[in-house]
């Protein structure tokens, strides 16, 4: 994947627009910035650790990076289809205090099947350096969107932009699967 495609892929997989609608908020619709920023950082760290181990993990499982691309494409298409139909993440019970950074921000909003899959395939095929800007940019975008106060209008806008990113994720998934088939 080239740099632009990697950026689009991570934006689509983390989907900051849609994810913003599923992070802990104050009663006035503002995101709880402490847990959001901390959770995003924890999720980012965990995903980077996974990225560093991606090639070894696939080797241990005896899966070639090329073949894993097919599986990754399939996962992304399935997840993206769900994103299209369920444009707002289901509400989760949120703990008070810092715990909200771990649940539900770090997991399952940032560390999710789609981000895990994308991290494994992109790090194994292109290296950690190539996927880092995309993952960091998407995480930063998520935290930045926390500054938006949700209301009926902003929710609709975020949900629809999230759908656009879901379509992008479908395309990324198809592209990955085709690459997996065409590569040696």
């Amino acid at each position: 994947m080239n740099g632009l495609l990697m950026l689009v892929a991570y934006m689509a997989a983390l989907n900051p627009m849609r994810t913003r609608l599923g992070v802990p908020e104050h009663s006035d619709g503002k995101a709880r910035m402490g847990p959001l920023a901390s959770g995003a950082a924890i999720g980012l760290g965990a995903l980077l650790a996974l990225a560093a181990l991606a090639r070894s993990l696939l080797d241990a499982l005896e899966i070639s990076p090329e073949t894993f691309r097919i599986a990754a494409g399939l996962v992304l298409v399935i997840v993206a289809a769900r994103m299209l139909f369920v444009s707002v993440p289901p509400a989760e019970p949120v703990p008070d205090g810092f715990g909200a950074a771990l649940w539900p921000v770090a997991f399952p909003r940032v560390i999710s099947p789609e981000t895990i899959t994308l991290v494994l395939t992109s790090a194994a095929s292109d290296g950690v350096g190539a996927m880092l800007p995309g993952l960091v940019s998407a995480s930063v975008a998520l935290v930045a969107l926390g500054l938006i106060r949700t209301g009926s209008l902003s929710e609709r806008v975020l949900a629809n932009l999230g759908r656009v990113l879901a379509v992008a994720l479908v395309l990324v998934g198809i592209w990955l699967a085709l690459q997996g088939v065409r590569e040696v």
């Binding site: 005896e62 090329e66 073949t67 097919i70 019970p93 040696v184």
Partner: protein
């Protein structure tokens, strides 16, 4: 308390989706690609066992044992002359790599059988094993002769090679397609195509060009190579791209100055077809749930052709800078294929000890049946893998 219970349930749900989803993907989409470790010595032994099967089963008239069913302990008495040409060609390939004069002698016996049925017509020469004159068998015969000449330097068959070359070119159409046979009654090409005959003929022309440079054979090969890469699937009605290992041989053996951008891109696409075929094959274990999801390990001839194709493209990727980025992945597939095919070959110890034990040892079976082309194609693939493994072992 209630909130914490709800939270635990939701965490458990999300983790379950991850674990179960991961397990399903693992089992159904990406089972382990098993590439048993293999050495050059093991590949050499496997090559020797395969050639022993082919040569040991030769009749006095130079024909090979066609097929053998180990479940029924029955020899298939049928025959196929394109396969005769293919096996003879593979024995010359083996001689070229191994250098064993017994292999040259055996291949020459196979060749002599074909030379009994050479006909001449309108300036060309062709092998007519019966009925119409087939393109594919003649293509493989010419490939065999060209490899023989390359390996021995012996010019004894030069005029025959040119004569067959003229037959192949005579079958060729303006768009590069090649009709699959010559109708002996109508005395003209029969307007039909074969799935592999076109590639066999194109490869033969590319090889002939290397032996007889400056006579125009390479241009004819290039024309058909372009047809195979651009138009064949559409014009001959193939729903998917044909993973044609003969096309891979053609693009690998065509003169370097004829390697246009389009032909290099075709080589890249072919590498992809063989790559996915061999990755999929490495996932096949033929037991348990894997049997239901991946079926039995594939027919050896099919796996072998993919191995041959990737082997031919390996040679090209090493020499052609525009494909250099593929070399490492191609080597991985080639060595992996050698690993699992060496393991799948029936050893002397695994032979059942029946009346036809000699037709078990050294063969590759598909659900109890083997055919001469099973040995031929896997042999050719292993011959491509051998120098790669030797180079790897030399580097350490």
């Amino acid at each position: 308390m209630l909130k914490s219970q709800q939270m635990r349930k939701r965490i458990a749900l999300h983790l379950s989706v991850l674990i179960i989803g991961g397990a399903v993907i693992r089992v159904a989409v990406v089972p382990a690609e098993v590439c048993p470790p293999v050495t050059a010595l093991e590949v050499s032994a496997s090559i020797e066992a395969a050639t022993t099967w082919l040569v040991g089963g030769m009749a006095d008239d130079g024909t090979y044992t066609y097929g053998f069913d180990r479940n029924e302990d029955v020899i298939n008495q049928g025959y196929n002359y394109a396969r005769h040409g293919g096996v003879t060609m593979a024995l010359y390939q083996a001689y070229e790599v191994i250098g064993d004069p017994d292999l040259l002698a055996a291949a020459d016996r196979g060749l002599a059988h074909a030379l009994n049925d050479i006909v001449e017509h309108g300036g060309w020469m062709g092998w007519q094993p019966g009925g119409d004159i087939p393109l594919g068998a003649n293509g493989l015969l010419l490939a065999a002769l060209s490899i023989r000449r390359r390996a021995t330097g012996d010019p004894i068959h030069d005029e025959l090679m040119r004569g067959i070359g003229r037959f192949l070119v005579g079958q060729q159409q303006e768009n590069g397609s090649i009709f699959a046979s010559w109708d002996i009654r109508a005395e003209e090409p029969r307007e039909s195509f074969g799935p592999f005959a076109t590639g066999e003929a194109a490869w033969a022309l590319a090889l002939l060009d290397r032996q007889m440079p400056g006579e125009g054979w390479g241009d004819a090969a290039g024309l058909t190579l372009d047809y195979m890469g651009e138009d064949r699937n559409r014009l001959e009605g193939y729903a998917t791209s044909l993973p044609d290992h003969w096309a891979a041989y053609t693009v690998s053996d065509i003169r370097p100055d004829l390697l246009t951008t389009g032909r290099v891109e075709y080589a890249r696409r072919l590498a992809g077809y063989f790559g996915i075929r061999l990755r999929f094959e490495a996932q096949r274990r033929g037991d348990g749930i894997n049997l239901w999801l991946r079926w039995y390990p594939g027919p050896p001839a099919g796996v072998g052709t993919a191995g041959e194709g990737i082997g031919a493209l390996h040679r090209l990727s090493v020499e052609e800078p525009r494909l250099a980025d593929l070399t490492a992945a191609i080597e991985e597939r080639l060595v992996c294929t050698a690993g699992f095919m060496v393991r799948r070959q029936i050893s002397a110890d695994e032979a059942t000890g029946g009346a036809t034990t000699s037709l078990e040892s050294g063969a590759w079976f598909y659900r109890g049946y083997t055919q001469m082309d099973d040995q031929q194609h896997v042999l050719s693939a292993l011959l491509s893998a051998l120098p790669v493994l030797e180079a790897m072992e030399e580097v350490g």
